[in-house]
């Protein structure tokens, strides 16, 4: 691997921050801390930093909780990329990890059911779900996807790449 080439590819894509490899709650907090230290006025590429942090937290905790839910051993591996496209004034956050392919349908359905909702509808749905206690205090993305979508300015997107062995690379992307 040519590091210079990789570096210039990342720069071309407007990448501000990337983490690939082992993730944990502690690493998540270090990522947030690092990004927070970079900003004096609580904005990242002109976007409200709280929105960026909230999205990163939900995405990464999804990854961590998924692993805990499955009860699988070993280190958790994921990739997180934060970047900014000047041309469209878009800040993007992408998070990817391996999941069991059977879980694809559930995730896709959840995201499709909320990603095109208007701001007011999202807010209503979020409040309803929080009130109902459905999925209450459980791990897994009940309110999580709604929280991400509320902080995004475009429909969030998921992509899946099956490896043919019952596992899929799952990426979730949000733009602000």
């Amino acid at each position: 691997m040519d590091l210079q080439e990789l570096n210039s590819q990342l720069k071309d894509k407007g990448v501000i921050f990337v983490h690939s490899g082992y993730v944990s709650h502690e690493i998540l907090s270090l990522i947030i801390e690092a990004l927070e230290k970079k900003t004096d006025d609580m904005t990242i590429a002109g976007k409200p930093a709280q929105k960026v942090f909230t999205i990163i937290i939900e995405m990464m905790q999804n990854v961590l909780n998924y692993k805990a839910e499955k009860g699988t051993q070993g280190p958790i591996d994921a990739i997180l990329v934060v970047g900014y496209i000047v041309k469209t004034n878009t800040l993007y956050i992408k998070c990817g990890n391996m999941i069991d392919s059977v879980d694809q349908e559930f995730i896709e359905k959840k995201i499709k059911s909320i990603c095109h909702l208007e701001k007011d509808e999202l807010r209503k749905k979020y409040r309803e779900l929080r009130k109902s206690g459905e999925g209450q205090h459980s791990r897994g993305a009940g309110l999580g996807f709604l929280e991400i979508q509320r902080n995004a300015s475009e429909p969030i997107q998921c992509k899946f790449f099956a490896n043919g062995e019952g596992r899929s690379f799952y990426s979730l992307e949000a733009n602000i």
Binding site: H25, L28, S29, I32, E33, D41, M42, P48, Q50, K51, F53, T54, I57, E58, Q61, R123, Y126, R127, R130, K131, G133, Q136, H137, G142, L143, G144, L146, E147, R150, N151
Partner: protein, 129 residues
Amino acid sequence: MSNFQIDQTNTTPSISGSRETSSFEIRGKCYPEDTPKFFNPFIFWLKEYLAIDASELTATFDIQYFNSSSSKFFFDIFDMLDEARQNGHKIIINWEYAAENESSQEAGEDFIEDFEAMTINLVVKGQTL
């Protein structure tokens, strides 16, 4: 009953509750590794507080950002306070946020809509009213 105190960390807020001042304050960022484990001791303390004839309680929330499972716990705390209000306690809630923190402002507005009968003040930090 004793006062409640936990210090702020990188991922959890400080929580201080005092019987003398009839108040509690939750301040900081909130995305614990294990949200129930973090909140349960405080929920327990608050239950005890509200069980005694605490006629007044001022609650202050000053949360820069939080994860969705913490949001659920904040809701539960509001719910407990609302129930106490219905039982005759005088409850005042201050939801503080920095002027530029739109997400926190919206979160406060959500609680106002969810708990219409409660006294919930949105307080912009660094501005005198």
